[in-house]
């Protein structure tokens, strides 16, 4: 396939879609699928056929539309009409509304002008909810693979890296390492073979951005990886994906096969000398495998334990060869950066954090789902404008970002801009994009315990500070929630947090104390209530002290 073929496929696909007066899009990403969207789609199709409308109206399965809480979601006519909570029985009402412009029942009509939709800026998710993730033609019609062809035919590898560097893109896996710098290091590294790895081991509980991107627009990730491979000089790539995401894995495999069949992956891509193949590797449920050296160990078929760095994977990674590891969302940002230029991307966001970020908004918030917002937006806007505030008139207490490595941000910091550095300054991290909202029904000591329990069982056991430290911290937190702790335990807990932070081998241990540290910093009164008054302000724990047992 060459540039002309690509252009003609795009034109044909657009033309065949334009034949229809209406296109009804049904979300078939995991969230809506579990709410029966597949049946909704079938029912819409058979209903159209019955009415003889199949030539003027088309039903299309698309990726995530974002507002998972209101699923199954259906949209039509460039998203002017949107429907929520659609059941197969609503199919005829939806068709009436789309084709005959009859108003649909209020219960299923959704306002497409909600702040949730209008407050977003979509770059990574531009095709989510628009294209059929299982058809490469749909992706090509949305300018897909154009960036790859531009790179391999018109740019030198260094020219590609220059654009990425100029864009100011930072790693979306959480740590925020400058992507251009990483690519430069791998490109300069000496090695007969080089590898490109996509980290799709989205282990943070409460995060589902990568899952959604892979389910809604898998080709975008493949294209980003191919561009990266061209830039750093690799010919083989791996996508390390969680086994818990069967649909994402299935769609990735379909996408890879389609790309190979069309000469978009494999040998002599675009009739050039550039070869690149991608394989999917399944994770097996180990959070630590999100750490790059552990991930490499896992792809090599071993236990996922990290090793000390340096040497960094950029110099010595998979099978001791220079390896580029980036997160799903990072790769998904690459095609638009190449298409529209690094300067365009750099014009979005804040001084040090460019572009947009996808967040998975969940917990005690009205609009749970997936959002993409420009860097620099405030937490308050995300939670109260896009998220629609806290349900049932309860009070906001904290927002947790960054999963088990992040922290809980209290109300007083709701107006800080969301970027890598501001979040770090209040003790949390950007993380991969999980954002869990908590209200007064959550006990912060219990939340700290929850995350410590997670880190304790996910610690790989290789280094002592993490293996023993997380267990000891968990024990103390457990004692506090059960009302068996004394004031000296708080000192001990604080000492342990700084010890584990400083002495652990990898990111898991180094960041494991963060949820505890931030809750100690911002919610000390709750810790004191448990210890001194034997009371849990949220009513979650049962710290009632039985005097006779204390000291026993």
């Amino acid at each position: 396939m060459n540039q002309d073929d690509l252009t003609s496929i795009a034109a044909q696909t657009k033309q065949s879609e334009n034949r229809y007066d209406h296109v009804i899009k049904v979300c078939v990403a995991a969230g809506c699928l579990s709410a029966n969207s597949e049946q909704v789609k079938t029912q819409l199709e058979s209903e159209l056929k019955q009415r003889g409308l199949e030539t003027c109206c088309k039903v299309k399965g698309v990726g995530c539309m974002g507002l998972c809480a209101a699923g199954p979601l259906v949209s039509a006519d460039a998203n002017e009409l949107m429907f929520q909570g659609v059941t197969p029985a609503d199919a005829s009402a939806v068709i009436d509304s789309v084709v005959d412009k009859k108003p649909a029942p209020a219960a299923i009509v959704m306002d497409s002008q909600l702040d949730f939709f209008t407050g977003q800026k979509k770059i990574v998710l531009e095709n989510s909810g628009e294209i059929d993730p299982e058809r490469v033609e749909d992706y090509i019609a949305a300018d897909g693979y154009e960036a790859l062809f531009h790179c391999i035919t018109k740019l030198k590898p260094l020219g590609v890296i220059e654009q990425v560097t100029k864009s100011g893109l930072r790693g979306r896996g959480g740590a925020g390492f400058p992507t251009g710098l990483k690519w430069t290091t791998v490109a300069k590294a000496q090695g007969a073979r080089k590898y490109v790895i996509c980290n799709a081991d989205e282990g943070d509980p409460g995060a589902f951005m990568d899952r959604s991107v892979l389910e809604s627009d898998p080709h975008r990730v493949l294209e980003g990886m191919a561009i990266a491979a061209y830039a750093v000089g690799a010919s083989k790539g791996f996508i390390y994906c969680r086994a818990e995401y069967p649909l994402a894995v299935k769609r990735l495999r379909i996408a890879i096969r389609q790309a190979e069949n069309n000469g978009l992956l494999g040998m002599n891509i675009g009739d050039t000398h550039f070869d690149f193949k991608i394989e999917v590797r399944l994770g097996a449920g180990a959070f630590v495998c999100g750490e790059e050296t552990a991930l490499i160990a896992s792809i090599e078929g071993g236990r996922g334990t990290p090793r000390p760095r340096p040497p960094f994977p950029a110099q010595e990674g998979l099978w001791k060869s220079p390896t580029l590891i980036n997160n799903v969302e990072t790769f998904a940002n690459i095609p638009p950066i190449i298409r529209r230029g690094g300067d365009w991307f750099a014009s979005i966001g804040t001084d040090k954090s460019k572009g947009t970020k996808v967040f998975a908004l969940a917990g005690r918030v009205n609009n749970t789902g997936l959002i993409e917002v420009p860097m620099g937006i405030t937490l308050r806007e995300i939670i109260f404008k896009l998220g629609g505030g806290i349900p049932e008139g309860r009070r906001f207490k904290a927002v947790q970002s960054g999963g088990p490595s992040g922290g809980c941000v209290p109300e007083q910091y709701l107006d800080i801009p969301v970027d890598y550095d501001s979040l770090a300054s209040v003790g949390s991290i950007m993380g991969s994009g999980g954002m869990i909202v908590m209200d007064e029904t959550s006990c912060m000591v219990d939340v700290a315990k929850f995350f410590m329990d997670f880190c304790m069982s996910e610690s790989c056991g290789k280094c002592v500070p993490c293996r023993v430290g997380t267990t000891q911290m968990h024990n103390i937190l457990e004692r506090i929630t059960q009302g068996e702790a004394g004031p000296q335990d708080l000192d001990l807990l604080t000492r342990l947090t700084s010890m584990v932070k400083a002495a652990s081998l990898c990111g898991l241990g180094q960041t494991a104390p963060n949820p505890t540290l931030t809750t100690l910093r911002y919610f000390m009164d709750e810790y004191r209530a448990h210890i001194e008054e034997g009371r849990c302000p949220a009513g979650i724990c049962h710290p009632a002290k039985v005097e006779a047992e204390v000291g026993a």
């Binding site: 969230g31 709410a35 818990e244 792809i299 071993g302 749970t368 999980g434 869990i436 939340v447």
Partner: protein, 175 residues
């Protein structure tokens, strides 16, 4: 001396070993294929047996100790046979905040099993997942492989009761 490929035969006559063999062949019996192969074994047989681990170890020329290490390191692999029905409660952050612990208690009340356990009659296994990525639908539960969202204690108890009262597929199979 390393055994040659020819001398290794599957632990039993079971035809399903052909699927496992196929997977190993696809990766050229390379040691790095270990995790992929264990995935295939578990998908095919439901869980990992000691026999299977030994067979995979010999076939891929990986020490048995390493195979056992990998099989027990990763949470996804299980060496216990699953019950006829499975109920996986997501305990990710969003589900936890929205009441996953209450759901676990509800199953425990209805079926008398804790997480990671199977009822004595082999009807139901109660498992937990770290995060299904269905946080928008929290709390989420996977009933026999189907993700269901916004679960209440009533719905989960009802499902568990239907499972417990269901006809056993093969009478006496678990005795």
């Amino acid at each position: 001396m390393l055994p040659t490929q020819k001398t290794i035969s599957p632990p039993s006559e079971d035809k399903r070993w052909k699927i496992v063999d196929g997977m190993m062949r696809r990766h050229g019996h390379e040691p790095y294929a270990l995790i992929e192969v264990l995935h295939t074994v578990q998908e095919t047989f439901g869980f990992l047996t000691d026999d299977a681990l030994r067979y995979v170890a010999t076939s891929l020329r990986v020490p048995y100790s390493r195979v056992y290490g990998v099989a027990t390191f990763y949470h996804f692999f299980t060496m216990k046979p699953p019950g006829e029905h499975t109920c996986v409660v997501c305990t990710g952050t969003a589900c936890y905040i929205k009441g996953a612990p209450v759901l676990l208690n509800a199953v425990q009340e209805a079926a008398g099993i804790k997480q990671g356990e199977t009822t004595p009659d082999g009807k139901l296994s109660l498992l937990t997942a770290r995060c299904l990525g269905s946080c928008g639908l929290a709390p989420a539960v996977v009933f026999d492989g189907q993700v269901a969202g916004k679960i209440t204690t009533e719905t989960i108890k009802k499902r568990v009761r239907t499972y417990l009262e269901s006809e056993t597929l093969a009478e006496g199979a678990h005795k």
